[in-house]
Structures are given as C-alpha cells and as structure tokens.
Amino acid sequence: MKKIIAAFDGLKFSESTLAYASQVINMSHAHLVGVFLEDFTYTSYKISDLITKDGVSEYKVGLLEEKDKNTRRQSVELFEHTCQAAGFQFNIHRDQDIAIQELIHESIYADLLIIDARETLTHYEEPAPTRFIRDLLSEVQCPVLLVPSSYKPIENIIMLYDGEPSSVFAIRMFSYMFPFLKHLNTEVLTVKNNYESLHVPDNKLIKEFIKRHFPSANYQVLKGLPEEEIIRYLKGQSDHTLVVSGSYRRSRVSRWFRTSMADIIMKELRLPLFIAHT
C-alpha cells in the first residue's frame, strides 16, 4: 500500500485537493495522510487588522486567533469526515513549524504529494505558480500532483517527452504511482525543431519502455518551439487531461525546462500536473 500525502492550508481549505486525493485513493487503495500546514507565522489576518486607535488590541488578537483556530479545526474535521465516509485508511499530521520546511520534510517519507497549484500559505492572492509552489517544487523529495482549484475527474493523460533522462524518469514514476490509469487515453507528446525528423528521440528504446507501462499509448510529434507548441496543444485538450512532466529547474536543467515548462503550464492552463524529478 502506497503512502500519499495531501497538503492543506487549513485557513483556505482546498476542496479540489481533497477531491483529487479521493479519486487517487479510491483507485489505488493507498494510505492517505492529510498534512495540515499550520505555520505559526501565518494567520488569516494582517497586522493592520489588529491596530485600533488605542494601539494593538489584545482582545481583538484573541478573537482573531480563536477564529483561525476554529477555521483550522473545521478543515481538519471536513477532511476526517470525508475520509471516514469513503472508508479510506488515513491519518492526519498538523505541522506547526515553517510550512515549506515541514512539507519538504514530509515528502521524504511519502510516495506522492498532492497539493493545489494555487496554494500560497499567505493571506495574499498570487498568480500561479505561487512563490510557495515554486519553492516547494525546487526542493520536494517525492513526485507531486499539482491540482487546479476545481476538480475534474482525470480521463486523459499526456506525457511530455524530450529524450532527456528527467522526462523518462517522470514517466517511470507516473507509471508506478498511477498503474490504475493505464486504460485511459494516453499520449506521448514531443516537440522537435523544424529541421529535425518526426521520429521521437531514442525511438526504439522509448517505445519499448512505454509499451510495457502504457500499452495503448499514442505518439504525437509537433514542430516548433516547445514552450509555444505544448501550450497551444494542451489548450486544445479537455479539462479532464492530466499532464506528466519532468524536471523542475534543478542543477541539471533539461532542454525543455530551461524556461521551466512546468511554470508555463501552471500559468497558462488549469490542468492537473504530475511532476517528478531526480
């Protein structure tokens, strides 16, 4: 049984994270851990909210802290009730240290992390990819499923492949984590420049490998700039499509990810994105 962690901000509970986690757990029968990031430096209110004409109101601080405590408790209860009703094997971690560090640490001991791509862990709104998600992706120690804010059941899979080890690694990890999605429509997407042939890189080896894991996968080769062609192609896909991609800007940068393809996908699209990197 695999161990999957779903990360939540208890002050802004992501129902779509829970919905995607539920779909994955239903199909995989994995063990689910709800990681509630209750960072002591993060509150729903701003410092300016505490100031009255007589200075900082202790009474107001108490009220707002109590409100946050209740909101967080309700989020945990919602998670708990949902898991109980669905009959999942689950447990809950309420992490109260610095959120990003806690989550990276949790990821060492997990097979997969599910999190909302719009998570900020601040009371500010930020466009995707948020600073929190960027920091998380550059340090996370297990594969990540970034989910959009509204849930759409996964019905199609598109795997980005550029011949680099990181893209093969992502496909490999995806096949371990989601063997139950093998029957879905699966496509391997490659972009080549205008002067190259339409063969996928390492044609024979990758096809042999894909055949073992996704026997009915199709191949799509586009020509042009990956940053443009991939986005154009994905925009034409249904909202029920999950995208699999490789490395997220680490020390060894793959060809596709010089400008971080994952960032562009998060910015331009609202599709679940599976990222795994070595």
Partner: protein, 278 residues
C-alpha cells in the same frame, strides 16, 4: 509490466545465471531484456605510432587475430544463449551491444525500470576492464536503480533497508519498495546505522508511517560503529537478503556512506545489493 534489463558478458556467462536473471525479473513482474555486451571496441588497442607526432592509432595487423578470436567466442555465447532459452522455455529479448559496455548499459538504463547486473560481470578478455571498475562505472552513471545479483543464486527472502536518516537512504528504501512490491519477502528489517551515536532513530515516526503503509511487519536493528563493518557483520549468515544502499558516490551530500562503504559490501559479493541515487 516493468522493463527490466540485464547486462550479460557475451563471452562469459552461464545458463544458470540467465535462468536466475529471468526468475528475478519474473518475481519483480518484469519483462527481461538481455543486453549482450560484446565489447568489440575496447579490444582495439591504441598503439603509439613510430613518429614523433604523439598521436595514437589502431594497429589492425596486431589486433586482427584477437578480434577474430573474440568474434568466435561471441558466436559461441550467442549459441549458448539461444539453446538455454529454448531448453528452459525462456522468453527473453536480446539486444547486442558491440560498443563500450558501460556507455551502452547507461543508455539502456534510461529506458528501463531496473538494471540487473551480476557482481562478477566484466569483460575479462579485455585489458582495460576489471570487475570493480566496470560495475562501479555503471553504478555511477546508471539512470535507473541497479540490482546486483550475487554469485550464489539464492532466492530473495529478506529486505534489509540500510538507513542513516539521510534523504538518499530513504530514497533507496522508497524506490525498492515501489519497484519490488511483488516480491513480498518473509522479513523486512531496517538496519539503522547510528553514525553519530545519538541513540535515537532519526524521524522514527515518519519512517514508521511510511513502512507501516507498505509492510505488515518490519523489524529494527540498530548498530553503532564503522558502517561497512557493521553492515557486513549484520549480513553474515543471512543468505537471500536484499540490502538497499542510497546514492552511490554522486556527491558527498548524496552519498550514503562517506567512505564508499558500498564498494566493500558490493565486492564482498555476499548478497543482493539494490543501489539507486536521487
């Protein structure tokens, strides 16, 4: 179905070895591709020219006889391979690689779930290779986890997960757990190497949470002292154990043991050794 590749010395393998590779692959739930390492290139000796330009050249006349002899040996190996497959009804894919064996295996490993290697694999007729160098080079560069098969062809009865609290040791445990989930050994033991003599298991709760999700029972063994000595000592009289080791010499940070302890364990040729690096 997983894609498992096995590197086989074309002129020095036994039918028992082939059968054992096939059995291991079947147990893992894999499809075995045998990469026949013919290593014709490394037999090309670079002979200094009798001119002062300092360049080296291939001397065909000197090497011709050796090449012919090697081709004959490879033909015998090929015959043995096919007869073994026929006699024992092995459905194996064969790929011949005539170039540099390390480079060929590394390339193949990018498109595989696991690489099986015999601990004694080498191209013994070559002057440029010996056992240690050959296996070590593959381990340094492999792009998928590697399972070293011991000379004693015993069945896998126990997982021994070496752990020192580092990410790389946990990464190896995770990879082995995911890849070898079909093996279901009778026993699982975490061998904790308390290098700093803290007397405390690092992240005990998170480790227990992860292993508890995957295995019904697991034991903990703690040792203090020199890791290689302790591990070898622990593995004595435990035939059929599969020991996991974290990163193999990528960088100091990602190396499980600081003094290449895995060399000693590997070269002692005692047990199955599972090596991977993040």
């Amino acid at each position: 179905m997983k894609q498992i590749i096995a590197g086989l010395n074309a002129i020095d393998f036994s039918p028992e070895q082939l059968i054992h590779f096939n059995n291991v692959s079947n147990q893992i739930g894999g499809n075995l591709v045998v990469v026949f390492l013919e290593n014709l290139v490394s037999d090309i000796l670079m002979i200094p020219r009798p001119y002062p330009d300092g360049a080296y050249a291939f001397n065909e006349e000197i090497d011709w006889q050796r090449l012919e002899e090697r081709k004959k040996q490879i033909a015998i190996g090929m015959k043995l391979f096919h007869s073994t497959c026929e006699t024992h009804h092995l459905n194996l894919l064969l790929r011949e690689e005539t170039g540099d064996p390390v480079a060929d295996l590394v390339k193949e490993s990018r498109f595989a779930d696991m690489l099986l290697l015999d601990s004694s694999i080498s191209n013994r007729s070559s002057l440029h290779h010996d056992t240690e160098i050959s296996v070590k080079s593959v381990l340094h560069n492999a792009q998928c986890p590697v399972l070293i098969i011991p000379p004693q062809l015993t069945a896998i009865k126990e997982f021994v997960f070496t752990y020192n609290g580092s990410y790389s040791s946990m990464y190896a445990i995770r990879q082995a757990t995911q890849l070898l989930e079909k093996l279901q050994p009778a026993k699982v033991t975490v061998l904790y190497v308390d290098e700093k003599n803290t007397g405390k298991l690092t992240e005990e709760k998170l480790l227990a949470g992860y292993l508890g999700a995957h295995f019904k029972n697991w034991d903990l063994a703690v040792c203090n002292g020199e890791p290689s000595v302790e591990i070898l000592d622990f593995l004595q009289n435990r035939p059929g154990s599969l020991v996991t080791l974290g990163a193999y010499g990528r960088s100091r940070l990602s190396t499980f043991f600081h003094k290449s302890e895995s060399d000693k364990i590997l070269l002692s040729q005692l047990e199955y050794v599972f090596i991977t690096h993040p």
